[in-house]
Symmetry: C2
């Protein structure tokens, strides 16, 4: 559909255009001592678009970024969209081999990278022939002289705005491709369409109470589901983003105070590190709204943060749903509950997001809704505007994820009598460690490459700090003398470290009569005595 | 486009479905001593849909309602939508002749009416052959035995939910047709598409800070632009509506206190009556967010309401833009302004709504933007999702309103250096009296029917209470002895009373050399010494 007098595609770029026009002089992005106003922020995204266009990036292309939460990352949420290109944000914790896979699979034409990750770029450069150009962001580390490509700020300054030809994309077009560890071995590229991002951002702003007075601290990685669409939500209201390269509790508390932070998002494990830090002593977070997701938070986490004065929203979703799809919506009676009971009801994943979420069900294998009895487990399925276009260049995986006309989350949950959904378990193949998804199959595949490993099974086990960590059960080859340390080292050379097993146990694996490994037996053993088999 | 795993039409009905599912036991609608929870409210809309379907109303049909702000009116905002029918809400202040025109023009198949207006129904009944069915709401007046049709509550109770067949409409389909006095003589039916209402409601919720804790008092007529889309915005967040048949200051204050009202909307003249009332004495409105529109509010009105503690949003739009299209968005520095200066900047119409509004320009006759100098006047034009589908069954008027690919408001404004739009004048043919649009051509046409009137020109003149009122300049026929009182009486028999001239002046009319009446000369004379030629 083309724009007309009464139809305008829903594209997040309009959010920035509006804030540029209404709040040109208001701080949009703060990074250390540098502040960009909305006029400057928008111009930077325009310059980025112009520069990319000069590099040959155009409508329907992909451009990748490998950077922590710095201004370039926020620029990238809008720059490529201006010329109809999609952004591929890459998890900085991945190994060079994993990054190379994503860059090749996405067919990215250019890569913007923070020079802190220059070693990784050196390692994969030669194996990604499609990568025609590099741009280097020398934020804390110096320029890498041996890698071609200009300094990011020079690149922006040199771009010719007069030659920029912006594209008005349709709302169904791709604005981002986010690689995520699915249940199968290789990461899959989740395609975000503009309409879904628009709708999610608006839901986000409404559910978390964002306004032009909001100051948002980037404790959540911007590469995760595009920072759950918050860059677009913040631009929608004209709020201020405060950048943060690395989550260090003392720095988080300092920035909250210095900038009067009102909102932040993070995984429950980050909250744990925040309140466990000595800096937490005597802190008053009463002006701060925290949205937590990425794993199921323990009631204790919610209770503790609320005890410090923060307002806590618990949301749940997947990269495939643009981040949050559900919210544990407050109810009239909850204010009066004692802190413990309130934390317990709020630890549930809840109901579909307001305005943005539509279809949300918990179903059995025949796609019938489970009874709302708080006991019967089923799979969480979603549909509507907040479901991805599909997996990039992977029709088979897309068709499988969309079977029956619903997106299958792989997460297992119950529905309570009040309609609230609570996760109890997830697809046996996903481990969430410190808010990062780990595919146990991917880890198994890498471990199988070790010459002394005959068979292997990886499961998530409970961990105090990271919620879950991978554990490998290994059957060594006859006569092999491989040690746990060697198995772990083998993994660390090939995978992001958070994906590597923290424990290795040698011995036989439980199997069915037909020889299939019974992963659930190993998990049951590790999670014995717990209410659910997932943790945050 | 049909719904699919990753596409769901944006239809406001989803707001109600979500609140029914998340907040089933929360008060949705309060009317006197009666409260309907969200489960009950949604069921009522379902019963209304079922009943209408039994009457033969279906997809693409129109159903009309003539009622003040009572629960039936809120039911009607969702009931017809369930079966793909569009609602025609009628201004209760119109004359029977005017109502009959709307009912005929819209081809409404059924009319729901409050029995307080039974006399009007009696007067036009025979002249609207398309009206196949009536439903009577006996809220304060008894049932009209001589008019067919069941009692509304009986109608709901008798409808067969099992036979209801709901329709999933596309987002481009009509959900409402709102008749408005345009610049030409006859009211025109503004067609609302579902997507526009959805987007406007979401913008509304964000801009005015609606949440599930919000309690909204219905001081704004629900027949005006569907209560500016607030019935959908409130349902979107799960807020509570408090009904109000008639704006009586003492009752408004009582309800604010009794129900802890957080939000209300109204025309500036209503605010004037609120603060001028003896009940205003010592009132604290600090928990109340007021959104005012319908005419340009004087800075004094904003200042006075803010002095009582209320938060005042000033918005501007037309029925053709689903109500509010712009908002005088707060700016960082404004909190620190003295009350007088703040009221002055806030009395401007402002900028496009967040997330919902896209195109907003002030243009000259060649569709070129006027310079942002605060002086050069141009016409306000809009485009995007918040622009109507068009005028119902009036291609010519639609094409004229959409000329150049933009909706032409007919309002004349300047753009300030900060980008804010300020109305200075409007199409010479529209008068806004007490928040109601009056077409001066329509009044002229009726006055010309008087046998003693030779020529007539109607303009809006300033009025302390109503902002503007119509004044008629009459050239009597030779030898006629008609008096001002007779002219006014003639109008009152045929038009809504707010449209009738409050003053009549006899004498010659200023004309151009070619004999065209110079309306502007009369207006200039009446508005002499004022900064702008409109008032609120």
């Amino acid at each position: 559909m083309t724009p007309s007098v009464n139809f305008e595609p829903l594209v997040p770029l309009d959010f920035l255009e509006r804030s540029e026009s209404v709040y040109p002089d208001k701080p949009a992005v703060i990074h250390g001592g540098t502040t960009y106003t909305y006029a400057q922020y928008s111009e930077r995204t325009r310059r980025l678009a112009a520069g990319l266009q000069e590099l040959g990036v155009g409508r329907g292309d992909r451009v990748a970024i490998l950077a922590p939460n710095i201004p370039a990352m926020l620029d990238a949420k809008f720059g490529p969209m201006r010329i109809g290109a999609a952004l591929v944000p890459i998890n900085v914790r991945l190994s060079p081999r994993e990054i190379a896979y994503i860059l090749r699979h996405s067919g990215a034409k250019a890569l913007i990278f923070d020079t802190e990750y220059a070693d990784a770029v050196r390692a994969f450069r030669d194996s990604v022939p499609n990568l025609g150009a590099f741009v280097q962001v020398a934020d804390v580390a110096p320029m890498a002289g041996d890698i071609p490509g200009p300094d990011y700020e020079d690149f922006l300054a040199a771009s010719d705005l007069a030659r920029l030809s912006e594209v008005r994309i349709d709302e169904g077009e791709a604005i981002s491709v986010n690689y995520t560890s699915g249940t199968t071995g290789f990461p899959k590229g989740v395609v975000f369409h503009a309409r879904g991002a628009w709708v999610n951002a608006v839901g986000e702003a409404l559910e978390t109470g964002l306004t032009w007075r909001s100051v948002y601290l980037w404790t959540l990685p911007l590469f995760h589901c595009n920072g759950w669409c918050f860059p677009w939500a913040i631009a929608a209201v004209g709020g201020t983003s405060v950048c943060l390269r690395k989550v260090v509790p003392a720095e988080v508390y300092r920035l909250i105070e210095e900038h009067g932070v009102t909102h932040l998002c993070c995984a429950p494990t980050v909250l744990t590190s925040l309140y466990a830090s000595p800096e937490a002593e005597g802190r008053d977070l009463s002006g701060v709204t925290i949205t937590t997701a990425g794993a199921a938070p323990a009631p204790l986490v919610i209770r503790t943060m609320e005890g410090m004065g923060a307002k806590v929203h618990h949301v749940y979703g997947l990269t495939e749903t643009y981040g949050p799809y559900t919210i544990c919506a407050d109810q009239p009676g909850w204010d009066a509950l004692d802190p413990e009971s309130r934390a317990r009801v709020k630890a549930r994943q809840g109901v579909a997001y307001g305005v943005a979420g539509t279809g949300l069900r918990v179903v059995d294998e025949q796609m019938k809704d489970v009874p709302p009895d708080g006991k019967t487990m089923g799979e969480v399925v979603m549909r509507g505007n907040m479901v991805m276009t599909g997996y990039f260049n992977d029709e088979k995986a897309t068709a499988d994820a969309f079977r029956g006309g619903w997106f299958h989350s792989g997460d297992l949950a119950v529905r309570h009598s009040d309609g609230y959904v609570e996760l109890k378990d997830r697809s046996k193949d996903i481990i969430i460690s410190g808010g990062e998804n780990v595919s146990s199959q991917e880890v198994e595949k890498v471990l199988m490459e070790h010459p002394d490993v005959l068979e292997v099974c990886v499961v998530g086990i409970p961990h105090e700090k990271w919620g879950e960590v991978p554990k490998a059960f290994v059957v060594p080859r006859d006569g092999a003398t491989v040690t746990a340390g060697e198995v772990i080292e083998h993994a660390r050379e090939r995978l992001a470290h958070y994906k590597c097993p923290k424990q290795v146990e040698f011995g036989d694996l439980p199997k069915t009569a037909t020889g299939k490994i019974q992963k659930f037996v190993l998990r049951d053993r590790e999670w014995k005595g717990r209410d659910r088999q997932i943790a945050g």
